[in-house]
């Protein structure tokens, strides 16, 4: 890790990655569309801290409003976050906002680029502070309280935007102070829905609609599923990593008993397979093979040997892939296997999907 503030270079950069490609992630979008100044100011603060003069916001092209607003004329507010001599100081900072190419990995020639590094070449080799839209947006809020803290600061002080979906009772965004337990977020009020009503979860675990909580999936396709026993765990980078998940993009998918974990793993693997750039072999072929194996298992054609092979491939793809996409692609499979192995077994041994999601292949196909 390079300390950008101490690095000696003629040009330094602040890069804001607002090209969230995870399925169902709208954290950067909500921040950029509703309060783009928050991000611009966060970048200016980061730039001031490290002595950068140029910033890039890499905005997802599919968010036209965010593209438009991230380039809002800075003069709308008295305290301009970008431009020359910001806030009466002699500090100048310019922000450009190239739009994305619609993919997680952008490939140019025979060289793949993960999205943030698509900023001009010079930026790629110069010292740069990368940060997600959500994190930089909160740099502004933190600074107003007198402390600029980002990843790397004290875990309990960091802030993130998370988004809750699927079976959460109240879907939407929450600016969370890292460190609060899952249960206290709306996630808990989601599938369980008792905190607000004052019930202890151990006493009544029923969803208002009568369904039981099963898991929270955090971090998008690179993350993992966290079962009920860890609901009291604080939501911060370290604790999530301990149970095999990540903060990642900040998406939180709350799932109740009508979700099949094999199906969830299959869904994320399909995403990774289609987002793989194809440069390195483990990610290109490994994700495709893992997806095929998950399909076999989910429609009742899987065997114990398939499961064993799937685990071998997970280990191999995780440790040999070239970039973060492949290195984290097996995570949803590994975490569902860790906590919900019985569901895989039900598909393999009994040709049955406990959640009633997966359609089983006709018996003639099973023995084919």
């Amino acid at each position: 890790v390079v300390d950008v503030s101490k690095a000696k270079a003629p040009d330094k950069y602040v890069i804001c990655n607002a090209d969230e490609g995870d399925p169902g992630a709208f954290m950067d979008r909500s921040v950029l569309e509703s309060d783009p100044h928050r991000v611009l100011e966060g970048m200016a603060i980061a730039a001031y801290a490290v002595g950068a003069s140029q910033g890039y916001i890499y905005v997802r092209a599919e968010y036209p409003l965010a593209v438009k607003r991230s380039g809002w004329p800075s003069s709308r507010r008295k305290a301009r976050p970008a431009g020359r001599d910001i806030c009466g100081t002699n500090f100048s900072f310019n922000i450009d906002h190239p739009a994305g190419g619609g993919r997680v990995c952008v490939r140019r020639g025979n060289r793949p680029h993960r999205s943030p590094s698509r900023a001009p070449r010079a930026a790629a080799s110069a010292p740069a502070v990368p940060g997600g839209g959500g994190a930089l947006g909160h740099a502004h809020a933190d600074q107003q309280r007198g402390d600029v803290r980002q990843r790397g600061a004290h875990p309990a002080q960091r802030r993130r935007v998370v988004r809750l979906h699927r079976h959460a009772e109240e879907q939407g965004h929450e600016g969370l102070r890292a460190g609060r337990p899952h249960r206290q977020h709306r996630a808990h009020r989601g599938a369980d829905g008792h905190h607000a009503a004052g019930y202890h979860l151990r006493h009544r675990r029923r969803h208002p609609r009568g369904r039981r909580f099963k898991a929270v999936q955090t971090g998008g396709p690179s993350g993992g599923c966290i079962p009920e026993q860890f609901l009291d765990m604080p939501v911060d980078y370290e604790s999530l990593a301990k149970v095999g998940s990540i903060m990642g993009s900040g998406g939180m998918i709350v799932m109740d008993e009508t979700s099949c974990m094999v199906d969830v793993a299959k869904f994320f693997m399909e995403f990774c397979m289609s987002e793989s750039c194809g440069k390195c072999i483990p990610c290109r072929v490994g994700t495709a093979q893992m997806y095929d194996l998950l399909c076999r298992i989910s429609d009742g054609r899987g065997t114990h040997a398939n499961l064993e092979l799937l685990e071998d491939l997970c280990d191999m793809v995780k440790h040999t892939s070239l970039c973060g996409l492949g290195q984290t692609a097996p995570n949803p499979v590994l975490s569902t296997l860790k906590f919900f192995r019985d569901e895989y077994m039900a598909h393999i041994d009994h040709k049955r999907c406990p959640a009633g999601v997966c359609k089983m292949a006709a018996p003639s196909e099973v023995h084919a």
Partner: protein, 239 residues
Amino acid sequence: MSAVPRVVTMVIDGREVGAQTDQTILEVAREHGISIPTLCYLKGLSPIGACRMCLVEIKGQAKLLPACVTRAADGLEITTNSPRLQEYRKTIIELLFAERNHVCAVCVSNNHCELQDMARSLGVTHIRVPYRYPRFSVDASHKRFSADHNRCILCARCVRVCDEIEGAHTWDIMGRGIDCRVITDMNQPWGASDTCTTCGKCVHVCPTGTLTEKGVAAAEMKKRGQFLPYLTAMRGAKE
């Protein structure tokens, strides 16, 4: 970036070796007779670290690092051939065999194929992953050469040699993930390419029977890649 390379000492597989900081681990290892398997690497072309065959373990580093692009540094303790690495390498070869339609018996490059040699030397005797049997075409539109995508491992040697050595950049890669394939120009038939100089460099750096000369029968396509070190040495001397 320090312009002047320094001399450092490292340990590769228990042997102390001297190296310069502008050398890669792979170059140092080969200099000292330690073999590390590679597929996409070819001396004289820019290394891309794509095939992941040359991954090595470095003491104190959690991640495995590709020897072809990792620079030598003082005090590195490198393991090139642990049981874990062997297992990963075998799986990579298995994935490649299952990815496309590699049928050695009818291949013009049978017995002169780097993929086949690699499988043999690593002891890959069977493929555990299901074969994918994709449908790929054969492009025989060029008057001297043909391209059989069923045998391609996407090492991008053809792309690099055409761009870096010949300077034509006829070859490139189209698509993403499992749908990737090499193309000529903007996905036109090779024979219709107006950038191709018919130099044949791509054919002779291709590790498998994908790019071949026309008029050879099964097992007859011997690749002659000797031109590459010669060309790069001559160019280096000129500059």
